[in-house]
């Protein structure tokens, strides 16, 4: 699937400033993309536009070369293929058991009964909530991290081609973040693509080879994650580089380690070992 925005502008009612200002960009099935930028720069609006929740004031959105459907079955099918996990998705959980919660979306999309069960069980498994333990558990008895993963399972069960995530690590502890990274890794191995809105630039650097920076509703940068080492660009974007990049650059200068770029702690350690 390919989603393309062509000169899209969108202004929220009551606002004088566009949330998206003449945005042209395209996303294809090719792994992880992070969408970063200061607060209010238009990241979440772009995400909801890709899902078909926001209809542009001007410009067009194309899905596989055709104009994005505005209603009906085609739009529903598009939303299944581009599944979105909103900020604090655990606040939207309302079913009486974890299994029923995951099955809700599948029923809405009218999957056959036997497939609903199979998909729901496998999605619970994938997010580390084994069905034999969690299927019958009421969500309100689950921890915050478990509920977050349950909300993710509800979307993964639809087997979207694109997973759109809005600040998925907000409020998660260290273990929760590691589990989330594992889940996203599995989803990618299965052929899925992720568009990740996050303020956690260390997470973005580790997971995403392509980085899109937004500012005041515009695309300021669209390219490789090497931008995290471009301190001029980061400053222009009003962003602080990932902590790993800052720590690594300090370390590199002090110890005179050869110039190379790392994006995770394990890469940094390998870089150090290689240079000794």
């Amino acid at each position: 699937m390919r989603i393309k925005l062509d000169k899209v502008t969108y202004t929220y009612p009551h606002s004088r400033y566009p949330a998206l200002d003449n945005v042209s960009i395209s996303f294809e099935e090719n792994g992880f993309v992070s969408l970063i930028g200061p607060i209010g720069s238009g990241k979440s609006t772009l995400l909801t536009t890709l899902m078909g929740l926001v209809i542009p004031g001007s410009g067009r959105v194309y899905v596989d070369g055709s104009v994005m459907p505005k209603r009906g079955k085609e739009l529903r099918e598009h939303r299944r293929k581009a599944g979105m996990v909103f900020q604090f998705p655990e606040m939207q959980i309302f079913e009486s058991t974890a299994l029923r919660e995951v099955m809700f979306g599948l029923r809405n999309f009218e999957f056959p009964a036997d497939e609903i069960e199979e998909r729901a069980f496998s999605a619970l498994d994938m997010v580390g909530l084994p069905p034999h333990q969690f299927a019958g558990r009421p969500p309100f008895e689950m921890s915050g991290g478990e509920k977050r993963r349950l909300a993710l399972a509800s979307i993964l069960a639809l087997r979207p081609e694109f997973l759109l995530l809005d600040e998925p690590t907000a409020g998660l502890d260290a273990r929760g973040k590691i589990l989330l990274k594992d889940i996203l890794g599995q989803y990618q191995t299965g052929g899925g693509s992720v568009i990740l809105v996050t303020h956690d630039l260390d997470l973005a650097a580790e997971l995403c080879r392509r980085v899109v920076i937004m500012s005041d509703g515009r695309i300021l940068y669209d390219g490789s994650r090497e931008v995290f080492y471009d301190f001029f660009m980061m400053k222009k974007s009003r962003l602080r580089p990932p902590e790993l990049v800052l720590a690594w650059e300090n370390f590199r200068m002090e110890k005179k380690v050869p110039n190379r770029r790392v994006y995770s702690i394990s890469e940094a350690l390998a870089g150090i070992t290689n240079s000794l």
Binding site: Y12, G40, G171, A174, R240
Partner: protein, 241 residues
């Protein structure tokens, strides 16, 4: 002064906070960290008086939580959706002042000042639900700080902010009313590092109470409490192994 003595609290049989005894001086600034489910939010709700301990007691300046003026402790939830009620940004900020019976002219001036301090002037006529997640978190803080509470309890209030906005956020809570006592719950070790006192909770109990650096150099303790160290520490620790 906030004093907790042997406080215990359970949610329908599930223990959330146990044997917590801790004191905060009136202008103390403390960060609280801990894994999900370690009891941080429950502790915050108990101090605010939104929950009542099953055992033990909590005193605010010598009085039980139920007997103090509720405006004395300002509370910011992690998800700003839980506390924004105004039709517009400026009405959200004016809400508490109106309730307190502030004179209109004075109130308008106060709202203007806060909007400017929090960088929200251009959104003053916006409905809060149209703001971005990060802007909503800024607004939730602004609406609480405008009331000049003696204490601020903040439950992961900046989880949707970028690092520059996080610095602004900390600057605001430290400087608008410098005498305000602050209890700041966070998962972000970098944010916690600017507080003189760090409290770590683990399985409902106080696991650590002291300075920041000494805790983060102990990586066994970090693992036990399920806390992610700042990247700088993580790198140094791994290199030392």
């Amino acid at each position: 002064m906030i004093s907790l003595k042997k406080v215990k609290y359970s949610y329908s049989g599930r223990l959330a906070v146990e044997d917590v005894s801790i004191h905060f001086a009136s202008d103390e600034r403390a960060a609280v960290m801990g894994a999900n489910g370690s009891g941080k939010s429950t502790l915050a709700l108990l101090i605010k008086g939104l929950l009542t301990p099953d055992e033990g007691n909590i005193l605010i300046d010598g009085l039980p939580t139920g007997e103090i003026n509720p405006g004395k402790i300002g509370f910011v939830f992690q998800n700003p959706e839980n506390q924004l009620v105004g039709a517009t940004v400026e009405r959200e900020i004016a809400f508490g002042l109106e309730n307190a019976g502030m004179e209109r002219r004075k109130m308008i001036k106060r709202v203007d000042e806060i909007l400017e301090q929090f960088g929200l002037e251009r959104y003053r006529k916006h409905p809060p639900h149209k703001l971005s997640g990060g802007q909503k978190q800024m607004l939730a803080l602004a609406a609480v700080m405008v009331l000049q509470p003696q204490w601020l309890i903040l439950d992961e209030p900046s989880s949707l902010l970028d690092s520059a906005a996080k610095s602004d956020f900390l600057h605001l809570i430290f400087n608008i009313h410098p005498k305000t006592g602050i209890i700041f719950i966070t998962q972000d070790a970098l944010e916690a590092s600017v507080f003189p006192r760090l409290i770590i909770m683990n399985q409902g109990r106080i696991f650590y109470d002291g300075g920041f650096d000494s805790f983060f150099k102990e990586h066994d303790a970090l693992n036990q409490a399920g806390i992610e160290p700042p990247v700088r520490f993580a790198l140094e620790q791994r290199l030392a192994v």
